[in-house]
Amino acid sequence: MRSRVESFFGGALFLIGLLAGSSATALAQSNVTLQIGCYGGAFTDVEQRFVAEPFTARTGIKITWINGNPSDHLAKLIASRGRPAPYDIVYLDDDIEAEAVNAGVLGKSGADDLPNLKFLYAQAINKDGFGPALNFYSTGIAYNVEKFKAAGIPAPTSWADLWNPKLAGHVGVPTLENTMGHAFLVAAEHLAGGDESTPEKGIDKIAQIKAQSYPGSSPVLDPLLRSGDVWVAPWLNGRTWGLIDRGVPLRFVLPKEGGFFGMTTISVTGTTQHRKEALAFINDVLGPLAQLGMASQIPYGPTNKLLAGILAAYPEMAKKFPSSPEDLAKLKLINWNVFHQQYPHAVDLWNRKIASK
């Protein structure tokens, strides 16, 4: 496995040298320290190893990670308006990024600032010029193959299959407070003939599911999927594969209506004092070295098109995340602006019709 990963990096070496070399001369040694808001855990470790360390060695710019929940980062940015931002750069999920844009706390970054932007898939590029996505993940359906077989239920192919009466009491429905919950609400809204602007349709639809429980986060759902208490749940590719790799008899499918895009975006803040250095860092994050490094360690799909060929040569790894234009075609984008306008209303309906029934 290890030698395989090494040879995998070897195979990509010339490509990386080509791109890293071109930007290496851009900045002289500097003594700036960048404050970066990130997630923590394996995610920050990967970014430290594949971006920050080579970046600091090359430029002298130091990195301080401030790890936390993305909505906490957003709250801090909003609280600091009118003063220098507590971060120069912030990693946010695309749903939170949309809120941050509305709150006016992010800076723009175009093709002139980020040479690597032209190598990204169109879905990764923010239409209004704010921070692009550095990876793709997906919300689909995770289900327990053995439990389905034992109960004589065919493998799910549609979001509507979660309403199968035979699954009553065995569906894990994510709450509205996480990414999967957001995507599942939109899926339910579409099934009920509405869209992001009609949360009442989606909530009424979800209220009809006889849920096993409403997990608020992955650490809560994981043991339920592992013990077999939950047979099926709208869930993320990465978390599902994490369990499959540990021997849990699960499968991850994208429904025929389409799964949903998730992505991690990276933005320069609106009031950073180190815009030039921050943009140089972001450009490295979008580069092939960093993205390949991340994909090899945690199941997030690169947004850099240059890697499609390499990923195709490693199907065992690439099957765990959206990795090709064909994969991306199976996913839908969510209109986060409309979603967020309705969000407080949606949570209120959820509290009344689902969380306290």
Binding site: E99, L176, E177, P219, G228, A355, S356
Partner: protein, 297 residues
Amino acid sequence: MSTTDLERLPRPDRPRRHADPWLWILLPTLAVFGLIFAAPLADLILLSFHHMAGPAQVDAAFTLANYRAFVTDPFYLEMLLRTCGLGMLVTLGCLVVGYPVAYFLARTPSRWRGFALFLVISPLLVSAIVRNIGWFPLLSQSGAVNWLLLKLGLIAAPLSLINNFTGVVIGLIHALLPFMILTLTTVIQRIEGDLEEAAANLGAGPLQAFWRVLLPLSLPGVVSGLLLVFAMAISAYTTPAILGGNRVLVMATYIAQQFRSVLNYPAGGTAAALLLLFAIVLTVLALQVRPAGERTP
């Protein structure tokens, strides 16, 4: 004993000067509490007097609309009642389970007493998340408890012991039991064992001795234990969030949701202020309870 003696002192004769050094000693504590606890709390409560003006933002105008919305909507009152009901069940559970344990700890001459005391406080040594997640292998439908009950033929289908109100009650009793037991143990230790023997000599059975002698004398401890556990139960967040399966919306989970997910600070602040007010009123009421025989000053 000492407080009642002090209360009996004629007030005008009380040496006023002697109280001052104590105030100086308290000053650092008060300053730290004021700075890191009272000031942020006041700031948070102030948010509840404004309208939300976008995520994590409030407008400048003063309003009581958030409070009006809360008290006039049966949904919120139901949530407050659910929180209160949860607190009462947990408190009662802790009392029933904790009293015998506390009695044993207070009276036993056993050399295992230290170890037993360690067992009692052990839930406090584990992180709240681990403690709660630890219930899943035991209480889930395919968990140890259901497996045993099914094997013994006591039930026909697995019971729902987790991801609902039952799970939250079980988890909170486990988490808060040490506070009840430690409070009661201290109080029972101070009651002379001779009193129980005297009751027995005068013909009282064990139950009667407990009901007529031990319980009334331990009442102040019982009240502080009840109060402590109740206050912690109605403000608990982690246990309802993890063991409730998000089916049990209580004040604390609602406040967290509004602050961290919806970023509706006024709604969260309103609920937080009302929960605090509720806890203060209950505390003041509970402090009126005195041990049997003692008069309120």
